[in-house]
Symmetry: D2
Subunit: 309 residues, 4 copies
């Protein structure tokens, strides 16, 4: 399939990377914690890992950055692999129609978050993984180390601590769900694992390799199955409909791929059956998605025709 | 591409049709107007039109039924073909997170409907098409007659009148948008075209043929382009994220295809690059989608592997 | 009781009227219909009718103006006199916490307006009075003519027509309630009576005399009882908690009296057991209440000590 | 003034107390913490402290109970006495239109609670009093001991601890406001003072005496002024419009007095210029107000004519 593309992939990535810095001016770097605010907005990297084992990259695609909410794609997959559809008794799978950390929806729906990617839903996923494994963050880190082959991959302790210090909104979400009985572990423990998960440091190359199982219908780097074809399809569906905050419709419209963004400026995007893309550009649009990243993915699917639609 | 499927399509459709009546018991026929309430819940039809010109069908796939909101997929395409992205100054393209006829979202967002498929958004699309053509319903009917080759295809006047008599909610939406200046034609005229559009009578075979341009990147039955590859992708993206009321996430999760449902029990679903599916089963789930229809599409993509994910 | 006040009432009203024009600069005249927009913002009148039959006035207290929503105090009383507590099966009596014409609350509460003074609630009151009398506006006009002794008191036809032409929001509310079955008469008829009611033209002296029955525990100008002490108390309670749009708390805090305002700049305020005040100043604050009017009432209760608290 | 009443007060209280137990069957005792759930629903007490120094009582009017939210009337007064209107930069004074612990309104209004009596608003009041005094609970307790002449008046440590253990909803509110910068002291400290305040144990006689300053225009038991006539009027206005959760309109309609209720079954009610009433009946209606208490106050104002309207 890859051979059929009319474009040379390395050339395409280089062209996209060359055009990226000009995009940064349209956005703004996240500034709610010092560690994120210090990053230069015009930085950019992009990597593509293909199902046949190639990794293409351009720009700073080996530079580690704070993955933030991109990590939620992985915890969802790990939780789904262990719990199956039972997970969805505690968290929905519908787009939220509200910003990612809204409490309004949570109240109208009695403590059941709308989907696993809004903050409340991600906290439930962590809570479920904690109950199942005893160490949600450890489980996630071990998975990512295995998929990337990077044994030193870890969270940034300074970022994690900074998240905790500025984490009143997440603490409110956690206590609120606890008041509905939809959190099984102590609020402080869930928040600690959640903040460390968000503070993971990975490069575009790492992310693209780590997400490849979603393009390979559940097959991990070592050839084992994390879960079946059906579960992989399901994670991709949730990524497409809910993965980019309240701009998921716009992302589907422009890019046409499953994707998960983070306020660190990263976006992970899946090309089912083909490969996995990761981009990084710290300047964010008003919805919290990387402006250079969305532009890069838009260009990529327009040039290759590899949107799912 | 079609040749590569491991299943025989006709056999598969027949198997699905045989299993369909048992699904109807899980749902309930729409009863807000008499014409819809009178239909037997266990009826079922399914058709597949492929990009290479074949039409497969099973069950009552040639039986006309009331397409209702399925028609919104076509008016969106026709409006987008004429106006391009300017349409999105007046209607969004994000999932609503609320039922299809909710006024709450409309008020919080100052009269701009969240997407073209909730009722308010569909009214804006009709209004835009009215301004552009002078006869929105006529434009739609002419398009559908051309694509299906059925010169007698039309709306059911009794159903249209019945919709108007039970149309207080839609009248409220229209007046509300008019109060924000987001309706250009008189409220009564917009509602008249809207009610006739919803009262269109078509069979599964008609619908599958009529929607084929969305699988062929904009190419109509006569070989002309309604619009380009990019616009076709965009309509499909909106179908996937917003086409099945507030169960779009669940539909993407289970079926994994762009789709548009109606309370008459029809669903149109696009297989980009492959073909167009139409199913009909009058019993609806709580979100207003055909229970037998969603089940049929779920089985179809599971057996063929033709989900977009 | 009146004798015990340490201030001379006429002197006090004159002082208040002298200070009023300076207040107008803090507000803005309603401009959604031309007839209201044309009024000079610094105009002012104030009248006090006492339970012992005196009428004091200052400024343009004999100048007729458009009473708008002030009329809702009277239709509520007339409806309550005929229907008693049964009225509250169709409309609540709690503050809304939302602007006066919000649809959000109406949707969350399934077509039951929060109170009789938000527009939706006033439409239900008109609908109930229509059912009871066959002519809601006629009933209201006859009552007001009787209480004021002004046989020519009437609505302004130009204003009523202008309201209808700009009435999309009210039409939306009416259709929305009709969709819930909470409107018994045709939408157009209810709106027509409602628009004429709002277009009534009365002076401060008229209003103060007309509202006197609320200070006299239900006793009308001719000595008959419109309703009992208990019903008068109830109307006053609703006036205090709901009578000044979403600023009822602020009005209670500053003025401390039952009151009903209108976007024509009028406010009617009840001094239980003592009398009835009416003020007029066209410039409105952000909640839609007369700035000069609220200031005048605040000064009046501070100087007399006649707040209910 | 008191002499003019046609009824004998002691006889009236006794009649009300005799009728009270039958009311309890219409309600339900609060059961979210064990200490409250254990109280027998049919218990009842009522006390009236008059501005001329008399205390009337009937039923268990000397029996201490958990005052819960009734305490918020006192912290509001103490905070207003110290800060004046500056308090209202951080908390509104409008009815909420939502249940007492709703987060929805708080989000729409960016962390500014609608009024000082919903839980979020009460937390802001505690926070302000903490900043002003260093010991919010200590300040409150000292005030109540002085007004009642009961040096042992205190909170119940078991109840306070139990509140903390079931306090996820309040913790969510506090963290949420902290995320908007509308909490100045550490969340844990504010919650600790808040839970102790709610766990205060007082009898009806205590409450009636303690609230007398609100009927005496700010004059305390020792003759000093807590604040002026204007501030007393303001607290009474907020009590009337916001003091009984989302049933404030109904309370004004039935009782017609400023009042503050608590889930322990107590209600404090002010008769401006006349006295202060306190009632206790543990069974609550759906809004969280004592059924026997509201009924008792309704009877009292109907029989005496001492409503403010």
């Amino acid at each position: 399939v890859l051979a059929s593309t009319p474009v040379d992939l390395q050339t395409l990535l280089d062209e996209i990377a060359a055009a990226a810095p000009a995009q940064a001016a349209r956005g703004k770097v996240a500034d709610y914690i010092p560690a994120l605010a210090a990053v230069a907005p015009e930085r950019f990297g992009m990597a593509l890992a293909t199902v046949d084992g190639q990794v293409y990259g351009s720009g700073e695609f080996r530079e580690p950055f704070s993955v933030q909410s991109v990590s939620k794609a992985f915890t969802l997959a790990l939780s789904l692999a262990r719990e199956g559809d039972a997970l969805f008794n505690r968290v929905g799978r519908e787009p939220s129609g509200n910003p990612f950390n809204s409490l309004v929806q949570l109240e109208y729906e009695h403590g059941i978050p709308r989907n696993p990617f809004i903050n409340a839903g991600a906290l439930v996923v962590v809570d479920q993984l904690l109950t199942a494994t005893g160490d949600a963050f450890g489980e996630l880190r071990a998975f990512l180390r295995a998929e990337t082959g990077e044994p030193a991959l870890d969270c940034d302790a300074v970022v994690a601590r900074s998240e905790a210090e500025h984490g009143h909104r997440n603490a409110a979400l956690a206590h609120f769900m606890a008041s509905y009985g939809n959190l099984k572990n102590p609020v402080e423990v869930v928040l600690d694992h959640y903040f460390r998960q968000c503070a993971l440091t990975m490069s575009c190359a790492d992310l693209a390799r780590a997400g490849l199982f979603l393009a390979r219908h559940g097959v991990r780097a070592d050839g084992s199955q994390l879960f079946g074809r059906s579960e992989a399809k399901r994670v991709n569906a949730i990524l497409l409909t809910c993965g980019t905050y309240d701009a998921a419709g716009d992302f589907a419209y422009r890019v046409g791929l499953p994707g998960k963004s983070g306020v660190g400026g990263g976006i992970l995007s899946v090309l089912p059956g083909r490969g996995c893309l990761a981009v990084w550009g710290p300047a964010l649009d008003r919805s919290g998605n990387s402006v250079a990243g969305v532009h890069a993915l838009d260009t990529f699917t327009t040039r290759t025709g590899w949107s799912v639609f």
